[in-house]
Subunit: 344 residues, 2 copies
């Protein structure tokens, strides 16, 4: 099969790889139908040291089950399925409390001999726990939005839910990437009254408005905070979803949130320490969020995708073939593309 491999910063290649085979009785083989490039794929694309062996890329995909291990009972050959971006057993104590991202038998695609999602086929460990059947055909126009359940939509939802968004709340979403835009969808879905999207890419923030953002702020830093305060009668927002990961975004979050409010972080922090001293205590600010347990949310969100209530697949603004994937990394890194959809 052919798959995307990364050999170092800026070096993504499409190569022939061994066809995956069932290795464990809990495995399933999935023929990929749709995959995509993630914002988090851009971290190694910008920084990975060169290597001779390469690393399989991609962790968001949906496809058709081709074969299952002897212990797999939940999916069978021919099923169209979507995966969360990490595999999991869906039965351990962490999964039982909805924290599939910490699954005791889970792991990440592209590591430990597991294929990446940007390839023609994938061996999926813990198939019964991981894969969710899709009640549509392979040619459904809903497929891109269902693929978004693999990561970005579940991640945006994780931000909004952990931030505690509820009816009538004011919410600030920092970052107009695919996750930030999905956080807008999620905040609206949970009943937020005011959704302020902070971002500087007009094409993205325009989509954010369609997703439910009531206000867009292009300014950053102190100016951005002043705009948020203006929009909230000086009070600040009830909830912040921080979908970037840079320290200035965190500082903005603390400055824009109201006393007693909650900041949920989705972006991987590009800092080790942060401002959690006396001011946070005096103001009773809560800091939450983290890596989304995407598996926990697929069944919850899927009905809204199926009936068209939410359309997170609109974050895909370019459709490419696998061979075009290296170029899509480049274009995403250069912010010419929001999120690239890979068809097979």
């Amino acid at each position: 099969m052919r798959a995307a491999m990364m050999y170092g910063a800026g070096d993504v290649r499409i190569e022939d790889r061994p066809d995956p085979k069932i290795q464990q009785p809990t495995d399933a083989l999935v023929r990929t139908v749709l995959s995509c490039v993630c914002g988090s794929d851009l971290w190694p694309y910008k920084s990975m040291p060169s290597t001779d062996t390469g690393r399989p890329m991609g962790h968001e995909f949906l496809g058709v089950v081709e074969e299952t291990g002897s212990e797999v009972t939940g999916v069978k050959a021919g099923d169209l399925v979507v995966t969360p971006f990490t595999y999991c057993d869906n039965t351990c104590d962490y999964c039982a409390k909805g924290l599939h991202s910490s699954c005791r038998h889970g792991g990440r695609y592209g590591l430990d001999g597991v294929d990446g999602g940007q390839g023609e086929a994938v061996r999926v460990p813990q198939a019964d726990g991981t894969l969710v059947r899709l009640p549509v055909r392979e040619d459904s126009p809903l497929l891109p939005s269902l693929l978004a359940l693999s990561d970005v939509m579940g991640t945006g939802h994780h931000g909004a839910t952990t931030a505690g968004v509820s009816r009538g709340d004011s919410v600030l979403v920092i970052g107009d990437g695919a996750v930030g835009l999905c956080a807008v969808i999620a905040a609206r879905r949970l009943g937020a009254e005011r959704i302020i999207l902070m971002g500087r890419h007009t094409d993205r923030t325009d989509l954010g408005r369609e997703f439910g953002a009531t206000d867009v702020i292009a300014e950053r830093g102190d100016e951005g905070v002043a705009r948020v305060r203006d929009l909230t009668a000086g009070v600040g927002v009830d909830r912040v979803v921080e979908a970037v990961g840079a320290r200035p975004g965190l500082d903005t979050a603390f400055a824009a949130v109201t006393d007693g409010g909650t900041i949920s972080r989705l972006g991987m922090p590009q800092y080790e320490e942060g401002p959690i001293g006396a001011a946070m205590i005096m103001r009773n600010i809560t800091l939450t969020g983290g890596v989304s347990p995407a598996r926990a949310y697929i069944e919850e969100l899927m009905p809204d995708v199926l009936d068209g209530t939410i359309r997170p697949g609109r974050v895909f603004d370019r459709t490419i073939s696998l061979d075009e994937t290296p170029g899509a990394y480049r274009d995403m890194a250069d912010r010419r593309v929001l999120k690239a959809l890979i068809t097979f």
Copy 2:
């Protein structure tokens, strides 16, 4: 009247002060019946620069209303009342959502011309919002436990509730001061199954066991964390209440909490930055807590005090007169006394 004034680190004096008078129509004058010394009073006791003017001390008291301003309707002369440790209007947007610590018309005792609580009488601003009537007589043996609603019990409760303690949870309480011990009471009251108290003063941790601690850990740092892990089958605790404020306690909290768990901080941080980088995100740890909106909890907790379900007044291990207060500061700073009760 006579009241405690602090003139600098280690310098508390009992002095004659002008009798308080009604200044605003929303004021009430309260004759103090019981007051006490707070762990937070020890911060200036250890560090306050010398001053010629002095600062009125104390913010926990209960007493009898002697006079009310023209707009006060909720309490009247003769009522026995308790105050939360900050005054508040109980009507602003922050109070309405239970965050009385951020009240828009609130403030702190001992500042801005308001008396401290360690004195014979106090002018209470925003009396209708602040004061809560006590359905007992001035000679009730429940008074010390009712006084604890002024701060330490409400603060421990704030820690347990913001940490999300619920039935069956495992909870680590870091710190065996009066607030930590009250957090044990609160965790048990909310149904925690396992309550691990981390502290090194046997007399205090013994009281913690009586309050509901199932385990006591005297070790700190890595050894303390290892003990917590041992007690929780390696998983870590669901909730941590950090009732000290020093950085090592926070590091212990992060190391001892399970993935997806919550750390609530009650101690004023003695650090400005903390470890909120990638590990917190990967593990979905929530950091919450803060200054307790004690007013929000008085009505909720009072029935349990009145019927003897909780007895937070047991944290008072010395009863003194106002004149003995300077010595009580010293003894509390030297950890010879847990919390001193001042009678009038």
